[in-house]
Amino acid sequence: MVQNIIDVKNLSKSFDISYKEPGLKGTIKHFFRRQTKSLKVIKDISFEIKEGEIVGFLGANGAGKTTILKMLCGLIYPSEGSILVSGYLPFRRKENFLKNITLIMGQKQQLIWDLPPIESFYLNASIYDLDKFEAKKRIKKLSEMLEIDEELFIPVRKLSLGQRMKSELLAALIHEPNILFLDEPTLGLDINAQRNLRKFLQKYNKETNATICLTSHYMKDITSLCKRVICVHEGAISYDGKLNLLLKKLSPVKEILIVCRSEKDAITLENSGFTVKNKSKNEITIKIENNSITSSLKTILNNFDIEDLFINEPPIDEIIGKVLIKNDYDI
């Protein structure tokens, strides 16, 4: 049986946030008497993550995804509740715990700006107590997986964003952590760089059985990497489960555009009991429920003379986006 590697129970976090009124008067008032309010950004959440799982955290900006990741890796003290990661209390930041995890942030970097990435890798290797031989071996292996070579010897400031992100990944993985916390790792990358990064993460997970917790605003990252998602809305978990079940729930029907050979066929199809969205000449768009899609298509192909057929899936970004804003799972 696969063990739970992350165990979160009734976790809450509050921050003191200061408020400022607009204008000069507000500025002076704010300078002398700062008004603060305690804001509960994470509200009583509980979840478990199994070893080797890739879990995506979904939520609108400010929903609390990054705060959850930062509490999981021990950067922020929780206000209430308990967290156990790999058997450790993260906020104690014990050496063995830190050797087991890594945090990668798409918008922040740890590489030394003026030096080639290789220098940062060897620095990290000495911090993680790796000898030169072992460090060299791991750099070689990871650089092959990430498909970077010459870039290792070029100053970081001269690298492209994609090359820099790959180097950041290598620096963060040199100690071969079991748990990866990734906060928007594909932020700002072009489509090819995003795809390469996702490919690498899939391969890394497969080869090392590492657990990956990921936040991203790019739905492609989530759909291609995560089987399970945790949706966060205003600091609370609104959905925790399989991604395909969520999509089925949110989008129970598919639209199918059928191009018939003759208009007569299209008329017959229109009157054969399917839910028709629209029809023009020999083209007809029907709606079919996800669970009956195979049998329905079989019937159509066997009984009608079909020239062409298109299955239109509603864009995932659109479906999830609506859920994240409205927190309504019955759309």
């Binding site: 021990g74 922020i76 830190l98 945090l103 922040k108 030096l115 911090i127």
Partner: protein
């Protein structure tokens, strides 16, 4: 704490930091020229003060030069280690890159206090030592083991006090976010350390001994060099340095509990 591991990491810090700085040759050259001109300017200024009256606060010009030498060494240490590292703490906290430091399996205070060095500060340290050797000859100070030990202890204590004060102020960034001004004020106070404590009024002497212990930083080591220091003063400096070091450490660990990291 694994001493060998930390030594190995420090060697790497030295290597990467030197390599980073050497990327900008002109900058290093300007820093070196600034260090030389700054020392010449300070000695010139000091000589103007002593022009009309041979003594200030009971100190001769040649004796006051010892304070200048110790100040130059300390300023060199400040520019080599404290300035590049401790001013970065503010940046780390403001931009949230302290996250990377806290997630490394080494002591975070060690990491943020020693990661960088500014090689041009070495010249200042060397110039300070040359001036000190010159002062030892001019003031006919005899070098013996007790003298050497006491001067080393007091200079080390001075470094600890200065580091702790700076680190303490930088740590408050966790709550106040911006503390550049406080660090500038500390640096300004340090300039005052170039003059003998006795040359100030009684109230200022109390202020610079108790509130901001600049007096401990330069005057006491200088008194040791001149054989003017009393044992209780040296002991007091050791106690003050120990208290400052421990307090800054405890304060850092306490402050980290309030670290909220920057938003993404």
């Amino acid at each position: 704490m694994n001493f060998r591991k930390y030594l190995k990491i420090y060697k790497k810090f030295l290597h990467t930091s030197l390599a980073s700085e050497l990327e900008y040759k002109t900058n290093i050259l300007v820093d070196l020229i600034t260090a030389i001109l700054s020392l010449i300017g300070s000695i010139f200024l000091l000589s103007i003060f002593f022009q009309n009256n041979g003594y200030i606060g009971g100190w001769k010009f040649e004796q006051a030069l010892i304070i200048q030498a110790i100040y130059t060494i300390l300023n060199g240490i400040t520019n080599t280690w404290f300035n590049p590292n401790l001013t970065e703490i503010v940046k780390h906290i403001r931009e949230g890159t302290l996250d990377f430091v806290l997630l490394k399996p080494i002591d975070s205070q060690f990491f943020i206090s020693l990661k960088k060095i500014n090689p041009s500060g070495f010249l200042e340290i060397m110039l300070g030592f040359f001036l000190l050797i010159f002062c030892i000859r001019v003031n006919q100070i005899s070098l013996n083991l007790i003298f050497m030990t006491l001067s080393l202890i007091t200079i080390c204590c001075s470094i600890c006090i200065l580091y702790s004060l700076w680190f303490f102020i930088s740590t408050t960034t966790i709550w106040f976010v911006k503390t550049w001004n406080a660090i500038e004020v500390l640096r300004s106070f340090l300039y005052i350390g170039r003059f003998p404590l006795n040359s100030f009024s009684f109230s200022l002497r109390i202020f610079f001994s108790i509130i901001i212990p600049i007096a401990f930083i330069t005057t006491i080591p200088s008194e040791v060099f001149l054989g003017l220091s009393q044992l209780w003063k040296i002991l007091l400096e050791v106690i003050v340095a120990t208290i400052f070091l421990i307090t800054s450490r405890k304060f850092w660990l306490f402050a980290l509990k309030f670290y909220s990291s920057a938003s993404s």
